[in-house]
Amino acid sequence: MVRVEDYVARTEGTCGKEKDVIVIFKYDKKDEVVKKMLEKAKIKKSIAGVISELTYKNFSFRLYGSGKAIFRDLKDKDELNALLSELLS
């Protein structure tokens, strides 16, 4: 079982009407995170290796090469943790 906190440096709720969550992955884990997520999720679009728009089950998110991801329409932190746990396993 993957421990999400081993990969995540911090999460940040965005300021604005959109209730997105930004996940900043640990610097030394970012390449591993990007690799795992690209394997697990379906790529809808990718721009110059900088950003990938991904879907996984009913969720859509954007993953940045810098080791950050932006998740949309999540109910709460538990849902985010469950999703990350699956994506990183």
């Binding site: 900088v50 940045y64 090469g65």
Partner: protein, 412 residues
């Protein structure tokens, strides 16, 4: 005209890379970077002069007190205040406005009174007034903003009446960079006997500001947006008004005398003189020293040159953004004669947070969200906005790079 390439040599942080790209810092409306002169002043203070102020007669305390008082004097000169009695050091603009709301508003505003605030204000110039109005029962009335983000002066003139006791407006909007005619607003407020509070957080670091010319009763600004450390800012107030106001917080430093009367079984208290009456407890001495060095740095450049440089950058950025696809939209007016170096923008179909993350990937720092000005975003019918804001060390080449990356974002 200032030379940003010479200035950049003073800012160690600008030599770093982010995600393997040279750092481009366009989030100056949130906070500025610090020159080595300010960093050195802070370091020197702790290495050579650190002591509590106004508490002791020993050498270090005298040195610290002298530095701290000189910092007040130089901050006063920077905005052309009468003297340091009119300059209260606070944590920042937010605390300065709260000081006025609590010390003046709580004691002077009554049920039938009104405070007039513009809808383009930062939350820090809305929330304190709403809090006090819920205690005292007075009304907070909001001045409308036009579709281009400029203040609706007709709405302002309609709202101000004999009931108005305070008018609050930002000198420069932290979202659009629009410069409000606060001198005109102060004139209207004074006609009705109201006081005028100016939020100078986005003007004092970027324009020459003269409190006598503006005739504002209060001016609030933050040090950290003008090269100084965080945790230090200024409330300017006209001396005669500050004299009449009750203190904000109680404690050491702000009192001249606390004497226990055994007959009454309570203490009688005499306040300290200005500005110390409003600076309870041990102040941020080192922050004051850092602010003084920042003021000296800006004075050496000249605030007219700062303004001119930012106007040049803003014009250039706006013209380059016009070359981008129609998907990229600048919010608010593009008229640089009434605008500072702040550009709010969006890319059609892309959230501001995606824009900020994309730019961050290339080492370009911009802000995304409401920028603590949700009512203005509601007027613009925006969920949020991205914001690029410039300062003395930014260059045209950085804007060129920003535009290149912006063109990639169009593909999102």
């Amino acid at each position: 005209m200032l030379d940003p390439y010479e200035i950049r040599k003073d800012f160690p942080i600008l030599r770093r890379k982010v995600n393997n790209y040279p750092l481009i810092y366009f989030d100056n409306a949130a906070t500025s970077q610090k020159p080595r002169q300010v960093i050195k002043a802070v370091k020197d203070f702790y290495e050579k002069h650190n002591a509590n102020v106004h508490r002791a007669i020993h050498t270090l305390s005298q040195e610290a007190s002298e530095l701290y008082e000189t910092a007040h004097e130089e901050a006063a000169k920077f905005i052309n205040a009468e003297g340091m009695e009119e300059v209260v050091f606070v944590r920042g603009t937010t605390e300065a406005i709260n000081l006025v709301a609590y010390s003046w508003g709580l004691h002077n505003l009554k049920r039938d009174d009104e405070v007039v605030v513009s809808l383009m204000e930062h939350h820090s110039n809305i929330v304190p007034w709403e809090i006090i109005s819920r205690i005292n029962g007075f009304k907070v009335k909001y001045v409308e903003v036009n579709d281009d983000g400029t203040l609706n002066y007709k709405s302002l003139e309609k709202l101000i009446s004999k009931r108005t006791k305070m008018v609050c407006a930002s000198h420069v909007s932290n979202v659009t960079g629009i410069i409000n005619d606060v001198k005109r607003i102060a004139g209207i407020a004074h006609e009705y006997g109201a006081l005028m509070l100016v939020d100078g957080a986005q003007s004092v670091p970027h324009l020459p500001v003269n409190v006598k010319d503006l005739d504002a009763d209060f001016l609030a600004f933050s040090g950290h947006k003008m090269l100084a450390p965080t945790g230090i800012g200024v409330l300017y107030g006209k001396r005669e008004i500050l004299e009449k106001m009750e203190p904000f917080q109680g404690g050491g430093e702000m009192i001249r005398e606390v004497s226990y009367d055994p007959r009454l079984k309570r203490c009688s208290i005499a306040w300290n003189v200005l500005p110390w009456k409003f600076e309870a407890g041990t102040p941020n001495v080192c922050g004051g020293v850092g602010l003084m060095e920042a003021v000296r740095y800006l004075n050496r450049i000249g605030m007219n040159n700062v303004e001119e440089h930012e106007e040049m950058l803003t014009k250039y950025a706006l013209s380059r953004m016009r070359d981008c696809s129609p998907k990229i939209e600048v919010y608010g007016t593009r008229d640089t004669s009434i605008k500072c170096g702040i550009i709010p923008f969006g890319v059609d179909g892309t959230s501001s947070h995606d824009i900020a993350l994309f730019l961050d990937n290339y080492g370009i720092m911009v802000r995304s969200g409401f920028h603590c000005a949700q009512p203005l975003h509601e007027i613009f019918k925006l969920n949020s906005s991205a914001r690029a804001s410039f300062y003395i060390y930014n260059t045209r080449e950085e804007i060129d790079r920003f535009i290149e990356v912006l063109k990639e974002i169009e593909q999102l």
